[in-house]
Subunit: 492 residues, 2 copies
């Protein structure tokens, strides 16, 4: 049965959009650039949140909540920061509507104009560091390890569901430290948390690295990132962790007294991942049949479908068995759903759950009842086999673990096959056009070279890998002595 | 040791503000009307969220996320709704800043003016029903049972931490149904969920009732509510659940085809609780020493304080014992913290944890090590006693259950003592002045009478109780035949 889904090979971008819409993950709202995250999509995001939140708490962080609004003047306090965010922000100028002269509609009340405009937070460094000024006096108040789950707004013109939207959901950690070293350690620790989450929960391999100056967060001294490779050969930045130095402490005058009583500016980090991870998840594993979800992030890891016939007695036995199995699986901690809708045919259902990416599917028919068996299909390989209905929780648990491993290996293999070491700019352009993917190349370290390569090819430096970044020859573009071996790609 | 906290009897309002600030629950931000929810306050809110979310899911609801922005014209579509919310909303008019002529600050770019202004959601009925139009075609798409956790903005001028802030956090359920009856059942079901949460988790007794027409949600056919009584004799509306009839379906043209193929407008409910619950929690149980938290909502249910001496060997034994106890308690699911700070004196710590409302405190001194004992203090009664250090998880669990019961009983007793049945308007005024609390009185059912009583006394009808609302005599104000026996109070 056709799901009417465009094939990846035909139009990857179209495939992605259709997939997000057809699986009920999200849709565009009437409000320009804003999406509605639908229940199925939100359930995946909740699983991500839950696990990330646990990892943040395990590394000593606590949650808090800061205002949605940032006074306009705050944005200007850190020069690079305002440069990065002023051009794409939503501005609140008034605080009241009134009835229009027509008596029906409403208009903005000109008398309710704010003295100072408020910006909807595009990120919260400024409002948070303005608050930290009152919270930090001495080294005893440090480190301050705070995270917030929030919505933020960046006024993007060209939007794509999950990947780039005007409003999105994210978490932003903002920490304060008494030393340079400790802040850098924190930024690296959180990068590791993100990388581990991506690899263990999303089954998505990532490269850990540093951004070049051009790609750094507005206001950061260093930006660490994790970069993943999508199935169309484009890179996706999946998370960033910034070492902010003393930039925001200086902008907001946040000092602490050390043990000797000397005053010093506080050291900072910030780090975040967003609903963009949903886009990364979809594009890493899914196929032409629909979504493929790694089991740990599947809202339901198994669907049980009784194969109904026109015999009430048999059907009620099938349902009883389905419930029995569901109970067993639930007790083993497996998220399971029974589909007992008798108005839809099994074939329709199979396609539906494939589309939605349920990792496993158990089908029970009358013959299974006699034989003590069930049929289990797995989403990743689309294999179907008959299994004994004894000890099914173990069968499914083992299969889920196997699916996860398979997805991770597949993604890793794809990345390996699509990572090319290139020795010259000619080769660079050729590989980029013909194959895409990650291009590993020697770079002279100058922003100018990076800019020129970007102009000529559309590829940017995704990161200077934390490991294995020593140059193996001259810069591919200038022929000058290379500073680093870096990873280029076209990117989302 | 004095905590410098104003006494409730001296100035309840001042006591409340100081308590919220000194315990680190929240503080005012620099942004007018917006608060910062600090980590300790947020940890309590997270416990509330977790439990409410669980109950929503158990009653069949799923979470989703809708845009922060509401196009101005949407608000006008439901007449009563816009009337209720237009006067206090934040309006986004522009989407870009630019560098000011001085080259330093930024100004709103006049060229980046939105064609239609966007309102920051004060509540999401309009944007959600505009979305539901595309999701609902037939009875098969119903019921739609969706909840969202979000921030909302209502431009309040006079704000109080947690109780009334321009931005606050809440959840809003928005459900769609194929019949009147089913929607009313849903509204009542969610009221019950709120009431049970308030009573079982917050140890806060509530009266379930219906709002009078004057106090109804803007756009609702009926507003159900739970009302609690604070320690200063004022009422607090702790949650509302609205039966919206077909008002929003009509405003946004949302119809469904029933089984016979007839088109009908969809029936709706919405329901919400907010960070206001934090205010209710604080004001229900806390005392002149500080916060008192019901154990289920205490971020830490027990603190262990080793009573350090100037003897390293003893101190390390004390710490070892503290850790052993902490492990035992954690395994029993008790949230426990050890305070091993040797720069602060025990007396200081005791006051600090009393202020922060930790339900129980375990102190271990050298003599305890010899005797196999610990000293346990409970926050609610301030009793201290010596206990065997065997099986402490059971001792503490039992004590926590007992504290919860004690708090609930105390709050119930307070409410009973401060609920007065009044027979005349003279008595009404007298009791309201001298005692406050809930005033149960017969009312003729007219909005005019309600309005006059409010003007003359400041008291409003908190609710028409769902139970026991039959009048026992004539209206106390007009002497006319009464329609209901209702609950009046001055309110937050």
């Amino acid at each position: 049965m056709s799901k009417g889904l465009t094939k990846r090979a035909d139009d990857y971008s179209q495939w992605y959009n259709e997939l997000v819409l057809k699986t009920g993950l999200a849709e565009h709202s009437d409000v320009r650039g804003c999406m509605v995250i639908k229940p199925y999509g939100f359930a995946i995001w909740e699983l991500m949140k839950e696990e990330l939140d646990k990892r943040f708490k395990e590394t000593g962080h606590v949650n808090a909540y800061f205002p949605l609004f940032i006074p306009k003047s705050y944005l200007s306090k850190e020069a690079a920061h305002v440069e990065g965010f002023a051009k794409e922000c939503a501005v609140v100028t008034h605080y009241r509507l009134k009835t229009a002269p027509d008596g029906k509609s409403v208009v903005v009340d000109p008398e309710a104009k704010l003295e100072e405009e408020l910006i909807i937070r595009p990120t919260s460094e400024t409002i948070i560091w303005n608050t930290y000024r009152n919270w930090i006096q001495s080294y005893r108040d440090l480190p301050l390890l705070i995270n917030q789950w929030a919505n933020v707004v960046r006024w993007e013109i060209r939007t794509r569901l999950f990947l780039r939207t005007a409003e999105f959901l994210w978490q932003e950690g903002h920490t304060a430290h008494s030393s340079n070293t400790e802040a850098i350690e924190e930024a690296e620790r959180m990068l590791d948390v993100y990388a581990e989450f991506a690899e263990k929960f999303m089954a998505m391999p990532v490269i850990k690295g540093l951004k070049s100056v051009n790609e750094r967060f507005a206001g950061a001294v260093e930006t660490y990132c994790i970069e993943a490779l999508m199935q169309d050969g484009k890179a996706l930045q999946a998370g960033t962790s910034h070492f902010l130095g003393q930039n925001f402490a200086k902008a907001f005058d946040v000092k602490f007294a050390d043990k000797e009583g000397n005053e010093e500016y506080v050291w900072a980090t910030s780090w975040g991942v967003s609903t963009r991870l949903m886009g990364a998840l979809i594009m890493t594993h899914s196929d032409d049949e629909g979504l493929v979800l790694p089991p740990k992030l599947a809202p339901f890891q198994c669907v049980i479908i009784p194969f109904f016939f026109k015999d009430e007695e048999i059907n009620s036995k099938l349902m009883a068995k389905a419930k029995e199995i569901a109970n067993e699986l639930r007790q083993a901690g497996i998220r399971v759903q029974i589909d007992d809708d008798d108005t839809k045919r099994p074939g329709f259902k199979f396609a539906e759950y494939e589309l939605k990416g349920y990792p496993t599917r158990i089908v029970i028919g009358p013959r299974d009842l006699e034989n003590g068996t069930v049929e289990i299909a797995r989403r990743d390989t689309k294999e179907k086999s008959s299994f004994s209905n004894e000890n099914l929780s173990e069968t499914i648990s083992t299969m889920l673990a196997d699916i996860e491993k398979e997805l991770r290996n597949r993604a890793l293999k794809y990345r390996e096959e699509n990572t090319s070491v290139v020795e010259s700019f000619e080769e660079f352009k050729q590989v980029l056009e013909q194959k895409g993917g990650f291009l590993v190349a020697n770079w002279d370290g100058s922003a100018e070279t990076e800019e020129k390569i970007k102009e000529e090819t559309g590829a940017t430096i995704r990161c200077i890998p934390l490991e294995d970044n020593l140059p193996s020859g001259p810069c591919i573009y200038t022929g000058k002595e290379a500073k680093h071996k870096v990873v280029f790609a076209r990117a989302y």
